[in-house]
Structures are given as structure tokens and as C-alpha cells.
């Protein structure tokens, strides 16, 4: 009885999960949403660029920041 129940739950989960990952990620036609100002990872890119310059000057290292890019994905 326990085994039957366990098998049933396993079947239930696997059939629902089978379609789960198909909705991950941004679709190519949704790039306009991604490029909106409110969707940017950085709320103040100018500030971030100036900060980066300071870090580079002080620590002699650069990078490690993400930056908005990738274009529109056309062509």
C-alpha cells in the first residue's frame, strides 16, 4: 500500500515536472521587455562607471561588474 502510494506520487511529480523547464529563460521576442529602464540590473550606470574607475585606481584591478549589453538579439 505504501509502495503503491509512493509510486503514484512519483508518477504525479514526474509528469508535471516534465514540462517545468520549458518556460525558463527569456524568449527572443521578449528582448524589448528586457531592455526597459526598470529592467536594468544597474539603477545608476554612470555612478557604477565612476565607482569602477575608483576601484581600478585603488586596487589595480577591474571588472567583476556586470553590464547591460547583448544588444537586441536581432540578426
Amino acid at each position: 500500500m505504501q509502495l503503491r502510494y509512493a509510486l503514484f506520487v512519483l508518477l504525479l511529480c514526474s509528469t508535471v515536472l516534465a514540462s517545468g523547464c520549458s518556460t525558463l529563460g527569456v524568449k527572443p521576442w521578449q528582448h524589448d521587455v528586457l531592455s526597459r529602464e526598470e529592467m536594468q540590473l544597474n539603477s545608476d550606470p554612470l555612478d557604477a562607471a565612476i565607482d569602477d574607475h575608483v576601484y581600478f585606481s585603488k586596487e589595480a584591478s577591474s571588472g567583476g561588474r556586470s553590464f547591460a549589453g547583448g544588444g537586441c538579439g536581432c540578426n
Binding site: S22, P28, W29, H31
Partner: protein
Amino acid sequence: MKRAIRWALICVWLSCRLAHGADPIDLKAFRGRVVYLDFWASWCVPCRQSFPWMQILKTHYEKQGLEILAINLDQNRGDADRFLGRFHPTFEVRFDPQGKSAEQFKVQGMPTSVVIDRHGVVRFTHIGFRPVDQTAYENELRRVLAEE
């Protein structure tokens, strides 16, 4: 046991429904005609080059059985209308902000054009649009139009 099987079948059906909805573009209405299906958006720069070219295609090949169907994928209808106000296409334009038709045709980039022959079979799929490819695309279209 019977109950478990019944539930399992319901789960399988539910999973299928989650993964694949109804086909939003019914191509049966276009049987007998060659369809040039174009997925575009107002923010897609190459689409500004493809629209005048598609207008020329319509003028030249409509009588031979070409049907151009441009599917807009903009989230904001105003953006699409502004784009259309600039180019004034005379071919059919449909709006699919939820992208169901794009899912149906597995669009991988913008723009994407699909050439479907008179029997409803997809013959060519092009991702992107470059002016240098216009002649090649037109030749492909002529070949498909020449078929029965």
C-alpha cells in the same frame, strides 16, 4: 489500483496541456497558396529593411499565389502601430503579444521568416534579415511558387 491509473492518466493529460497549447495560427486557411510568414517587432532594426522588401514581394508575386503574413510580437501595441504608420504595409499583419505563434514556430531570433508551400509544409526558415540575402530568399520563393 483503478483509481491510481485514472489519476495517472489525468496527470499525463494535464502535463500535455501545460506543455503545448492550441496552435494559434491556422495555416489550413492558406492551403493552395505559398505563405511567407514573418515574425517582427517594432524594436527590431532589420525589420525596417525587411518591410519594404516584403511589400515589393507582395506586388510582384501575389498573383502567383504568394500570401505574406506578418506577425507582430510587441508587448506594447502602440509601438507596433507607430512602426506600421511609418511603413504602411498592404500585406496582412496580425498581433500576438503573448508570443503563442512564435512558440508554435520555435522562433529563435528576430526577425524570423518561414516559407510554407501550397501543401502547408515548411520549406525554409530564415533567422535574421540582411539585404545581401534578398536575392537568395527571392529565388527560393520563386522556386516554391513554381511548384504545384
